[in-house]
């Protein structure tokens, strides 16, 4: 499991790749931590782009749940975007689509979270 990051103005887009399961969830959680730590009201926002994730298990979903709780507690905003069809079905069956903000594309997530980030994305 790899995690790349790209900044669009006040929003960081995070790009995990591979499977997020019992074997990789801990490293996913650790990789997210420094980015989540600075997400707060009036500061950074975060979008996790899941286009490169082919499978996510319950323990991986739990990492996303904890990330969302942490960011909310810090007054920030977190969304996920660009789910592969299998991952989108897993979100729907687990009802994670009801507890996390899920967008069809990274662009739509940025449009909702931050006009400045959207402008930076469009200019890139």
């Amino acid at each position: 499991m790899e995690l790349a990051a790209k900044r669009f103005a006040d929003t960081v887009a995070l790009y995990p790749t591979g499977r997020i399961d019992h074997a990789t969830a801990d490293s996913f959680k650790a990789a997210l931590a420094p980015y989540l730590a600075v997400v707060a009201a009036g500061r950074d926002r975060a979008v996790i782009d899941l286009a490169g994730v082919e499978y996510i298990s319950s323990v991986g979903l739990r990492v996303l749940m904890l990330a969302s709780k942490q960011v909310k507690a810090q007054g920030g905003a977190l969304a996920v975007a660009d789910l592969q069809p299998v991952v989108r079905e897993i979100f729907e069956i687990s009802r994670f689509n009801l507890v996390l903000e899920v967008f069809p594309t990274l662009r739509e997530a940025l449009a909702k979270l931050s006009p400045a980030a959207l402008a930076a994305f469009e200019a890139a």
Binding site: H22, A25, Y55, S57, S58, V59, L61, R62, M65, K69, V86, E89, I90, E92, I93, S94, R95, F96, L98, V99
Partner: protein, 318 residues
């Protein structure tokens, strides 16, 4: 071995409402329009073969009680929820009033798992023998307490069957009624215990009222071993995964998603969703089953897990 479900609902028994019955009738009549169902035989065949399960059946509303029909003469049950009443009455009607030997494995002593015993008619009849097994030190007290004033008009002492209570230790094998039985402690308020029950190479795991902490690798591995190669895992799937690890975390129940993952890891043959959420109607449970089968399909590697949703009256041959 044959497994028969007498009570499958979680937390509290429920009954279909008139509105739900009417909805089923309307759906059935619309589906039957123009089919020329002018005899009872044609209508029955249509209901049995063509209507969706959630229209032609109900998942039912009795609380936890599962019968394991073994090779031996004794009756084996898991839990004594309200489904035990239906089991007892059926047995008396078909096999007579006395001479029965019962072995009951208790997951825990919450009300919905013991409430059928005051209405378990074989326990009032001399010549029957009931042994109730469990791992809680309050096993006997819980049953005696609910069978006395002010909770119930008939005192426990009026039960004329021979009734005994046997404490089991978890993680230890027992040979009972021709079965190899092992209990395992589970996460639930006041603890609950799952049972791995084996006979002649067939394995049933009864694991209800159990929350699985998926972020604890040791615990996951221990439960995977407990479920290992089971022919049937009866699994508490009361909540969605999202609920189970957020607003209902530490409420002591699990989800269909975790059930699929655990059975895949354990290479179990069948997963049976159990302890259904009492607010779910038949359409909702049928949808949950369809979604769970789909999840198993899209996440399958080299091992297929057959997925069922328990209903009152379901029989599975192993």
């Amino acid at each position: 071995m044959r497994v028969r479900f007498w009570g499958t609902r979680g937390s509290i028994p429920v009954a279909m409402t008139s509105a739900e019955v009417q909805r089923k009738l309307v759906a059935a009549l619309v589906a039957a329009a123009g089919r020329g169902l002018d005899t009872a035989g044609k209508a029955r065949a249509f209901v049995e073969n063509e209507l969706e399960f959630s229209v032609s059946h109900t998942f039912g509303g009795n609380s936890s009680c599962v019968q394991l029909e073994t090779d031996g003469p004794d009756h084996v049950l898991c839990d004594l929820g309200s489904g035990a009443r239906a089991f007892g009455n059926s047995l008396l009607a078909t096999r007579g009033p006395s001479g029965h030997r019962f072995h009951v494995f208790m997951s825990h002593l919450h009300w919905d798992h013991i409430m059928g015993f005051p209405f378990f008619m074989p326990a009032y009849l001399p010549g029957n023998h009931v042994t109730i097994y469990g791992c809680h030190d309050t096993l006997e007290e819980a049953f005696r307490r609910q069978n006395r004033a002010p909770s119930f008009p008939v005192d426990f002492s009026r039960m004329d069957a021979r009734i005994e209570f046997v404490r089991l230790e978890p993680e230890r094998n027992y040979d009972i009624a021709g079965l190899r039985v092992r209990a395992k402690r589970q996460h639930h308020g006041g603890d609950s215990y799952g049972y791995r029950i084996e006979q002649r190479g067939k394995v049933v795991v009864y694991s209800t009222d159990s929350e699985h902490k998926q972020d604890d690798p040791e615990e996951v591995a221990a439960f995977v071993e407990f479920f290992r190669d089971a022919d049937l895992v009866i699994f508490d799937a009361q909540y969605s995964l999202a609920d189970a690890i957020s607003v209902k975390e530490d409420w002591g129940h699990s989800s269909n998603v975790v059930g699929v993952e655990m059975c895949q890891l354990a290479r179990a043959r069948r997963l049976c969703l159990y302890h259904h959420e009492p607010i779910f109607d038949d359409e909702r449970i049928a949808r949950l089953l369809a979604e769970t089968r789909r999840l198993e399909e899209i996440t399958r590697t080299d091992h297929r897990v057959e997925v069922w949703a328990a209903y009152d009256g379901l029989e599975l041959a192993l």
